[in-house]
Assembly symmetry: C2
Homo-oligomer: 350 residues x 2
């Protein structure tokens, strides 16, 4: 029997990924062609966004000028969208995860598989959890995760990208997720390290702030590369310290070093951080976020604070000098050049 | 007794590093203050380059507008420069290594230590050797190596950089080399993997050509990150396949991922490769090298050919798809977009 797929979320990344998913389910032997996509209803120029998507096959608000496949059907009610699905693709802002999962709980079928495209890790004081784990816990189904060097607009433009999917049972789930997400311009590799993949997705945004500071200070490529390198090491240390099963190999995947590089050169966290320095700290990061991003959120600043508070409670601040330095530049008026101090190795030989 | 240091070579990188070395030996308890630097004699505006350096303390040809410490003494005769040295710093174009080492052989003292800042690996058909090994073999002394995310002009400008030194006996040699090269703006870490460090230094220039092609094609940050990632993997595979003792950790050092990032964004290999695409292949890479680099050489193209021929003899071309694709674009008129094909994972589940 063909599997039914539903996409929960329809922002910029959700719309870009729906192009691939819709194309892969159309005329497929393994998937039902129609993919229901939950769209948070908004009125755009007097018209419902769901109607616009279903009539024009375009998400004019979040991914303008890109046609979505006509087998993607926008649904304003998330329960309605998810009902009967065999595969649930979660691609929504992380603050909605709990509410939506609670709503979906009664209709999720046993045997359903989920996959999380949500960036971030959930920090609650001393507790730390992955969104894939929260989805698993609430819905009682296995949840994989997808992440990679995937600037959404480039994926929508069908520029070649790699991506990484992590799931527990590679042999069983790997081929299904590959069939759903792989495209000639979206090259998917499947690995087993769900925690490492999501740690990378969360922390890269913080490191990108550091890369933006270096750019803003005019410090050159050597210094910027040092920030990325230290960032990669702290991402790995964070994963290995606080999660089981995190592998060094994960950091060689698209979700690791590649996504870090992309996020530190083209992403919005790096861009706003650069502007923060260039305006000589006359505005806070929060003010710049509002001015520059037109309602979009900077995940890096929120994550920087959550990570800092978590590390403080864990008494591990000294192990993560770059993450701490970035936090202090954003929130404690530390001089931006202080980022260099955290890069010093102080290697001793004894 | 204080150690006497000599620098063999005085190009752009040699001059930049002489700033650090001269500053570290001055008023030192462990090094003699005076550092002799072998300078290949040239006449600049009617004056000898060695005289210019010794009088103006500036290498006006290869590192203009940067003062060298006055304890750096330019010597036109390499034997004279090296005589009596306890530490020999080799920083010269790799084509000179054999001739200079043969000349120095009679005067190198037993107990002398060498360190190679030479980028590259020496390919001779099916044979492959590291320049540090060649120096060891000819001179009969141990040779360490230094590499990292070190664009020379940024180091000369005292922008913060990291660097990696690899040597066999970390406990004994590490502190000496750290004392000689470490500076507040040049942060040195010492590791044991001499082969891995030098493989990175050689192959990064080839990968940078690939990054330049992607830029020239306007392919976006996701694609570029995929090239860097695949490049990092092939660098590691190359090291592990053809050398003993190459560690994954080396690729997390400045000589690994950081140098790759720097070289792929700011270096001349990436720049010329980008122009190669933008001029629609109407000129060869060799022609562009002559036009754009004012006599400097592109190591990436030479290394690409040597690596290809070596892999062909080793019957291992299929394991290194990116290195092969870059070679074919440069030398076999392969379409530049063919670089994307080599990034496809073709993962199967069985």
């Amino acid at each position: 029997m063909e599997s039914r797929v539903a996409i929960i979320g329809s922002g910029n990344w959700g719309s870009a990924i729906s192009k691939i998913v819709g194309s892969n389910t159309k005329d497929s032997d393994v998937f039902e062609s129609t993919v229901k996509m939950w769209v948070y209803e908004e009125i755009i120029d007097g018209k419902k966004l769901t109607d616009i998507i279903n009539e024009q096959h375009e998400n004019t608000k979040y991914l303008p000028n890109h046609k979505l496949p006509d087998n993607i059907v926008a649904i304003p009610d998330c329960v309605e969208a998810a009902k009967g699905a065999d595969i649930l693709v979660f691609v929504l802002p992380h603050q909605f995860v709990y509410r939506i999962c609670e709503e979906l709980k009664p209709v999720v079928r046993r045997g359903c598989h989920a996959i999380s495209l949500i960036k971030g890790v959930d920090f609650r004081g001393k507790e730390l959890s992955l969104f894939s784990e929260e989805i698993e816990r609430i819905l009682g189904i296995p949840c994989a995760a997808l992440s990679g060097a995937n600037i959404a607009i480039e994926v929508a433009d069908e520029q070649f990208s790699e991506a990484t999917i992590a799931c527990r049972r590679i042999q069983e789930e790997g081929p299904i997720f590959q069939a759903l997400f792989h495209a000639p311009y979206f090259d998917v590799r499947v690995i087993g390290d769900i925690s490492g993949l999501q740690v990378c997705g969360a922390l890269k945004n913080v490191i990108a702030l550091g890369a933006g500071f270096v750019d803003g200070l005019g410090l050159g490529d050597n210094t910027k590369a040092a920030v990325l390198r230290q960032g990669l090491l702290e991402m790995r240390l964070f994963g290995k310290t606080f999660f089981g099963g995190v592998h060094t190999e994960t950091f060689f995947e698209s979700c690791g070093v590649a996504d870090l590089i992309t996020t530190c050169s083209g992403g919005r966290n790096a861009r706003v951080a650069r502007t923060f320095i260039q305006t000589s700290d006359s505005k806070t990061m929060d003010e710049l976020e509002r001015e520059l991003l037109n309602g979009q959120k900077l995940q890096g600043t929120t994550t920087a604070k959550e990570v800092y508070q978590f590390l403080q409670l864990q008494k591990k601040l000294d192990r993560f000098p770059l993450l701490v330095a970035i936090y202090r530049i954003v929130y404690e008026v530390a001089p931006p050049r202080s980022i260099i101090n955290c890069l010093r190795t102080r290697q001793t030989f004894d």
